[in-house]
């Protein structure tokens, strides 16, 4: 289970783009670092992230080791009706996580 957060505006206007901000808690080990004994620390990164709104894909990302630790990603989405926005992510070891928020169309 990889923890993370999602943030959307409290209310949005129908059809107008609003920013979705996602923060995932992950070390994002590049595989280029060594530990105190000089052994290489294996690569361990969140490599996939996707966002759906009311069951339809809005945004998807493929991440590399060039993303910072605790990856932050922000993007835009539109909504015509209120619904639930879900962001899911997984790392290269098969660990998964998700966060959800309700979008209120005013």
């Amino acid at each position: 289970m990889i923890l993370g957060k999602i943030q959307v505006p409290a209310t949005v206007k129908a059809g107008e783009a609003f920013e979705v901000r996602v923060l995932v808690q992950h070390p994002m080990e590049t595989g280029f670092r060594r530990d105190l004994d000089g052994h290489a620390i294996p690569m361990h990164i969140v490599d996939k992230l996707s966002c759906t709104f009311a069951g339809r894909e809005v945004f998807r990302a493929e991440l590399g080791s060039g993303m910072s630790a605790n990856p932050y990603i922000a993007f835009f989405a539109t909504a015509s009706r209120s619904g639930e926005i879900v962001v899911e992510w997984s790392d290269d070891q098969g660990d998964k996580g998700s966060a959800r928020a309700t979008v209120n169309v005013a």
């Binding site: 059809g15 107008e16 783009a17 609003f18 590049t30 595989g31 280029f32 670092r33 060594r34 290489a40 620390i41 709104f53 339809r56 894909e57 809005v58 945004f59 998807r60 990302a61 493929e62 991440l63 590399g64 080791s65 060039g66 993303m67 910072s68 630790a69 990856p71 932050y72 990603i73 922000a74 993007f75 835009f76 989405a77 539109t78």
Partner: protein, 159 residues
């Protein structure tokens, strides 16, 4: 006595100059350590041989980065984001990173705005290239130079 002091000061400056000259070498060595790679093959793999336009991509990065481990990046592509004309993907490349492909973001008309922001790692002073893939098999690039004083992943395990 006064002349002695002047002479000592002169030799001090001479030594200081030599020291500063020597300090400039590690910067060169750093370039040799992680040389910029040619990212054209990465771009060609996506564009399939189409030469991308050099306009319409706005890359927001700090001019001077003190810590290459977390660099705020914001990409804006001028697009109406309609079904007929929208941005399909935004790819970020850093030529001096050990793995130049930083991330790929896939968008669609449902995004409403072709804008993405993230925090990236940069291994040193380099050019960050953003490739936008538009509907109708069109491509745009936005290169952006960035100065990094302390790069990420300097303790390279593969060395």
């Amino acid at each position: 006595m006064a002349r002695d002091a002047a002479m000592r000061r002169r030799s001090f400056f001479a030594r200081l100059g030599a020291l500063l000259g020597a300090a400039a070498i590690p910067a060169r060595a750093q370039i040799r350590f992680q040389p910029p790679q040619d990212i054209t093959p990465f771009i060609m793999e996506i564009t399939k041989g189409i030469t991308p336009e050099k306009s319409g991509v706005e890359v927001e990065l700090p001019v001077l980065v003190e810590n290459g481990n977390t660099v705020p990046l914001r990409v804006r592509v001028a697009s109406p984001m309609t079904e007929a004309d929208h941005v399909k993907a935004i790819h970020v490349f850093a030529e001096r990173n050990p793995r130049p492909r930083v991330a790929s973001f896939f968008l669609g008309p449902q995004c409403g705005k072709a804008e993405v922001s993230a925090r990236v790692r940069l291994a040193g002073t380099q050019t960050v290239t953003v490739l936008a893939e538009l509907s109708g098999n069109r491509f745009r690039v936005g290169p952006r130079d960035v100065l990094v004083t302390s790069g990420a992943c300097l303790d390279d395990a593969s060395l």
